[in-house]
Symmetry: C2
Subunit: 357 residues, 2 copies
Amino acid sequence: MRVYNFAAGPSTLPLKVLEKAQSEFLDFAGTGMSVCEISHRDKAYEAVVKSAEALVRELLNVPDDYAVIFVQGGASTQFAAIPLNLMQTGVADYIVTGNFAKKAWQEGQIYGTANKIGDSSDKTYTYIPDVDKLAYTDGADYVHITSNNTIFGSRYSKFPKCKAPLVADMSSEIFSREVNVSDFGVIYAGAQKNLAPAGVTIVIAKRSLIENPLKICPTMLKWKVQDENGSLYNTPPAFAIYMANLVLENLKELGGVKAMQQQNEYKAALLYDFIDNSKLYKNNVVPEFRSIMNVPFVTGSEELDAKFVAEAKKAGLVSLKGHRIVGGMRASIYNAMPVEGVKALIEFMKKFEKENG
Amino acid sequence: MRVYNFAAGPSTLPLKVLEKAQSEFLDFAGTGMSVCEISHRDKAYEAVVKSAEALVRELLNVPDDYAVIFVQGGASTQFAAIPLNLMQTGVADYIVTGNFAKKAWQEGQIYGTANKIGDSSDKTYTYIPDVDKLAYTDGADYVHITSNNTIFGSRYSKFPKCKAPLVADMSSEIFSREVNVSDFGVIYAGAQKNLAPAGVTIVIAKRSLIENPLKICPTMLKWKVQDENGSLYNTPPAFAIYMANLVLENLKELGGVKAMQQQNEYKAALLYDFIDNSKLYKNNVVPEFRSIMNVPFVTGSEELDAKFVAEAKKAGLVSLKGHRIVGGMRASIYNAMPVEGVKALIEFMKKFEKENG
C-alpha cells in the first residue's frame, strides 16, 4: 500500500512520474537500454537534458542571460561554490535564518569575509529578520539567503532589496511559488524536495556574475564551465536529471508554478488553520513567515509527540518526526503531496487529539 | 528488444539488477514508497548504504584502516579533491597515460606543483611508461595514476612501487580485476562503468592520509568528513547507491572479483585474438598494456568505420563509436557485458569483414 510520505527530503514524488519511470525502466525511449545505462552523449539522452533545461526556463520564466545548469553534490556543495564563483572582492553578506543558512555562512568564511548581517537564532529561527532594516555591506559580492527553512518551517514573505546580487538557496521551495528570477543573481536548489530524487542540484545564475571564478575553484564547481558545456562537462547524474524532466513535464501539465502555488497555499492553509484551532497542537513560527512547504508542530509533551509519530506511521502517514534540533513533528507538504494526504493527516490529528487531548 | 550496449560509460548493467529495481520501484523494502522518495535517515535506507560499504570492503578486501565513502561529482570532481585532501607539502607526481590522467594532472596544478613524471602521449597513449624507470619526486605527497585508460584502451600491467602514496583513478576497471588495496593510498572511481548508474563516486582512502585536508578544501570534498558521517554528511545520491548495492550483491553471487576477472580475461582474449587474426581490424595498443575493459579498433578507413558503427547498431550492437580523439570503434566490455555479447560482436565483425574486406 502506498503511504503518505511527509519526509523533508528525499520526499514524495508524483505517482504518475514514478509509474512512467517504472514502465520504461528497461527500455528508455525505444533504445533497448535502461536510462541508467545509456551514454550521456547519446542523442536520446541529450534530449532529456535539453528538455529539462528548457522546462526550468519556461516554468520559472528564466531570462535568457541566466545560465540553467544541473550539477552534483547538493546545496551543501554549493555553499562552497557560491564564494568560489562569486567572491571576487572577498566580502559577502549572509542572513542566518536556520541550520542550512548557518552552514552556508560558515562555508563562506573559508574563502573571505562572510558578514552575518541578520540572525533569527534568538527565537529559534521562528521568524525572518526585517530585510528592510539590515545593514548590507557596501560593495559586497553578494547577499546570501535561504528562502525557505526546511527544519524550522519558515520562509521569506518578501526578499531583500539590496545592491549586491541576491543568492538564494531555494532547495525546499523551488517551483512551489512564483518568484521573479531577475530579482536574484543566483538561485540554487537540491532537487530532492520538489524536483527529483536526490543526486542533482539546479543552479540558475546570471551569466555576467559568473565570468571570473576564483583561481582555487575546482573546475567541476565552476558554473561557467558547466554552463558552457550544457551540464555535460563530465558524466551527469543521468537518472536524476531524467526524473527531474518527468517531474517538470508533469508540473507543466498541472498548470505550472502558479497553479501549484495555489494548491500549496490551500494545503498549507488547511493544516495551519487546523493547528491554530486545536488545543493540542502548536506551530511556533510567526504567521507572516510560515512556510507552505514544511509545517512543524508540537504537542508540548515529548512522550505524546513520540506516540503521535508512531501511531501515524501505523496509519500510513510516515516520516512525520521533526528534525532533532526542533523536536516534535514536521509535515513536509511539497508539490507532490496530494490534498488528500493533508486531509488524511488532519483527520488523524483530530482522532489523536480526541484520544489523547 | 534488449541491445548489447558497448558504451564507455554510462554503460550496461546486469539485467537481473535492473529487473529487481524495476519490480520494487514503487515499493522499496515494503515501505510503501519508492527508493527515490525515502528519507536518507530512514533505517531501511541507511541499511542500503551500510550494505554497499560492507560489500565494497568484502569484495576488494579493503583493510580496516581505510575509509570507504560514496560521494558525488564523478572522478572529475575528485581530480580537485585529491590535491585538496592530500597536497600537504604542495608537491605531487602524475603519470599521464590518457585524457583523464591529463585532466587530473592539470587540476593538480591549481593547488601546487604537479610534476608530470611519465607521459605516453608520444605514441597516442598506446602504452604505459615503465614504472620502474620513472623519476619519482622525493617527498611528494602522492603519485597519481589512471589505472585503466577508457579512451585509449590501455591499462597498467603492474603498478608503481613508489615511496609516496599511490593514488589511482580506477573508474573504468574497478571490480574487474583483483588489486591489493594496501598497495594504494587512495583508489577512486566514478560508478558509471562497473558499479552503478552515473551519479555516485566511490573513494577508498587510507585514513592516516586524509587527516589534514587543505584549508581551502570545500567541506563536501573533505574525505574525512564524509568518512566520519558514513557517507551521510548531507543527502546522498540515494538511488545510485541503492543500485550500486544491488550490483555488488550480484557480483558477490557471481563469485566476486576473482571470478569476474576470469570472465573478463576470457571475453577480452576472444576479442583481441579475433582482431589480431583479422585482416580488416587493428588494435594499436602494446599487447602488455591492453585493457580488458575497453577495446578500441580501427579498419583504417574512416568511411568504413562509420559504416561499421551504423550497421552494428542495426544489428543491436550499440554505442560502438570510438571516442572522437581516437576515432574508429571501441567496444567497452565491462563486468555486465555477457560473453554472448562479445561473441555476437565478433560474429558481426566477421560478417562485416566478409562483406567489406
